[in-house]
Symmetry: C2
């Protein structure tokens, strides 16, 4: 049983059905207290407009998603990418999100050097810390599934996120986002969640479908796959996390095709039975 | 530069173009000294017939692919699966393959318990050891990519394979197959390959394409993706491996559609420039 006051539904879960106002309406209609907004949608509707809409409706924010992709070996490209993250941090502050979900970036096909890409990502985070502090938005390092390593994130495990946090020594402003979909397979996950402790500033749930057909947009509803979600929730809570449980389902073939109220209804049910 | 005498081309690389005799002909025509055969193809053509064909043509074997899927929580299903692995070990011995590539199996949707699935897989390997010894075929534990964890392999890292080997204490008959496609993203891979040392009994190469479109059948030709293959080869060789370098490319949209001689020609070229 999850306290309904801890439910957050990520905007991406209704990405294709709803404009930002329609999405906020759907949350209100269904008594969902919190969301994490999707940057593309925010920029489409307008940052100030989104901030006002959320505030007027009393919707809390569990995150701003996302900024990053700072691994380019080209110095000027990397500098541009960091500037873009600074803008994302500003926007996160404007909508009053506590953290920006940070997606490291992939491996450059020209150098094929994953160790260098990881080093550049870590340096990139270090350079972003002063700006994050100045606007009061945490950088939530989100390990993504290894299948996204080439293009989206060389940060592939919570173990590596912990190592980055150790090296950054910026516990006040750099945290870790644990996404069940990205980490459930990891033999070290229980230990690394315990090690992360209070670094965990964001917790995302969805499920891994046995017949997964796409590397990004085929996530399952909690309970429909093979992830032991209650165990993962127990571990992050034992580590000290007591914040929102954020539902983040990218689902081209199923949930993005359905009525918003139906999707939210199923989510609310599954939060009680499968998480 | 790879010594051409160390080239092995896995039968699956020409899975759709060639029957087993056509495949062996193609190897002969192109001076490829070694292969790893695909169990389904062997059974289709006949085990004895395949053994004779390979022997008559002087084709060496680097492996027999595959056996496993022993993680069922149902005792009788698991026992059946182990019997099937014993048959695969017999077949591997018949074709004179030095090892059977072992694919652990996935997570049962009914119990969603990955820790238990891993424990059952390890127990399953332990039970298979006497038979493997009796027929003189190594069990090559192959960690598969975490994206296959639900259905094919809860053995997701070389670190976990090392832990299993530590616990089995059967270095004479249980080894590790390192597949570049499965492990390239792993932050611990260099250290775990070093730790594996002489356990490494099989080394597979292919590449990870930036625009990967399928979880199983979209592997790239060496050089076409982002994997630093020379680094991985250097590490396995530093660990003591000096056996065949086995090319294993599942490629529905590209290489399975091409002429066998063209595919082998590209492979031979890339082995000199990209591995």
């Amino acid at each position: 049983m999850l306290d309904p006051a801890r439910l957050s539904i990520h905007q991406v879960t209704l990405l294709q059905q709803c404009s930002t106002p329609q999405f906020v309406d759907a949350l209100m209609r269904n008594g969902v207290p919190c969301t994490s907004v999707w940057r593309e949608k925010v920029r489409e509707y307008g940052v100030e407009q989104t901030a006002r809409l959320l505030a007027d409706n009393g919707v809390a924010l569990s995150g701003y998603c996302w900024g990053g992709l700072v691994t380019s070996p080209d110095r000027s490209e990397a500098a541009k990418a960091r500037d873009e993250v600074r803008r994302a941090l500003d926007e996160a502050a404007a909508v009053k999100a506590p953290c920006l979900v940070f997606v490291a970036g992939g491996v450059a096909p020209r150098d094929k050097n994953i160790a260098d890409a990881r080093a550049r990502a870590l340096d990139g985070v270090a350079e972003l810390i002063p700006h994050a502090r100045s606007v009061g938005v945490k950088i939530a390092l989100e390990p993504l599934h290894p299948m996204t390593c080439a293009t989206r994130s060389v940060l592939s495990t919570v173990k590596l996120a912990n190592a980055w946090c150790d090296s950054l020594s910026a516990e006040d402003i750099v945290g870790i986002a644990v996404d069940t979909y990205a980490v459930w397979w990891d033999p070290d996950i229980e230990a690394e969640i315990a090690r992360a402790g209070k670094r965990i500033c964001s917790f995302h749930v969805s499920d891994w479908l046995v017949d997964t057909q796409d590397l990004r947009f085929d996530r399952g509803m909690m309970g429909d796959g093979v992830i032991d979600l209650p165990a993962l929730r127990r571990w992050v809570e034992a580590a000290g996390y007591d914040g929102y449980v954020e539902v983040e389902i990218f689902s081209q073939r199923n949930w993005w095709q359905r009525d918003p109220d139906e999707v939210i209804g199923v989510i609310k049910d599954r939060m009680q039975t499968a998480v």
